[in-house]
Symmetry: C2
Subunit: 136 residues, 2 copies
């Protein structure tokens, strides 16, 4: 059996994407680029917080999103969840050691961003201005 060039290309793409899915860096990016993870982790930086406290600190997150990002972080072993059975229920979230370690990396990201994103914004404006001026 032989293959067309197209088939070979598609096979290569598939293999490549399959590999990508298992690339640790890609996985990490997928985790931290979820809209609320960084904010949640930052909110937990200073110690445990209850669900309701997190809601107050991150008013932009819907309840569903807050719960689901907390679940994802728990599943990844970055946050631990402690439920106190009472009426009403009380739930505390806390960074695990690995979570703290990741937080360090995130802060590095934040620092770079705060130093450089102004420049990026400026570059964007320049780029857009030229596009307008010289048509295209």
């Amino acid at each position: 059996m032989t293959f067309t060039a197209e088939q070979k290309r598609l096979a290569a793409q598939e293999a490549y994407n399959g590999g990508l899915a298992h690339c640790p860096a890609r996985q990490l990016l997928e985790t931290i680029s979820s809209k609320w993870v960084t904010l949640v982790m930052l909110a937990l930086a200073d110690g445990p917080q209850r669900h309701s406290e997190l809601r107050r600190q991150i008013p932009g997150a819907s309840q569903k999103m807050l719960t689901s990002t907390l679940r994802a972080l728990e599943r990844d072993g970055l946050v631990s969840r402690l439920v106190t059975v009472s009426v009403p229920v009380r739930t505390d979230y806390e960074l695990t050691p690995r979570g703290h370690s990741l937080l360090g990396v995130l802060i590095g990201l934040k620092d770079w961003a705060e130093e450089n994103m102004d420049g990026v914004a400026h570059a964007r404006m320049e780029y857009d201005r030229h596009r307008l001026e010289f048509g295209e």
Copy 2:
């Protein structure tokens, strides 16, 4: 004129999200979490590359995606584009100084990922296993 609690909450959310949009760290995350930017930047780490060379190095990216991530990176001043008018046309892409600087941060991310994502994967399996065992 008065406002309901609901209106106040929505206003707060809107203000918060508006603020988020201007948060440098969030913007950076949005940039680098675009599926192909890290791969493109890594491919450019060792020096300039032509469009076709990039395609070969990153076979998973469709032409459209490759072009559009390159455009985005150029707009942000992270990559520069040099077109040589000839037949056929030749285009070279290269990291700018700011691009190199960002690359450093990305490598930090990669290092953390390579050290920790195994642990994360393990945590995920444990989590899922418990979920299956104890129902819920």
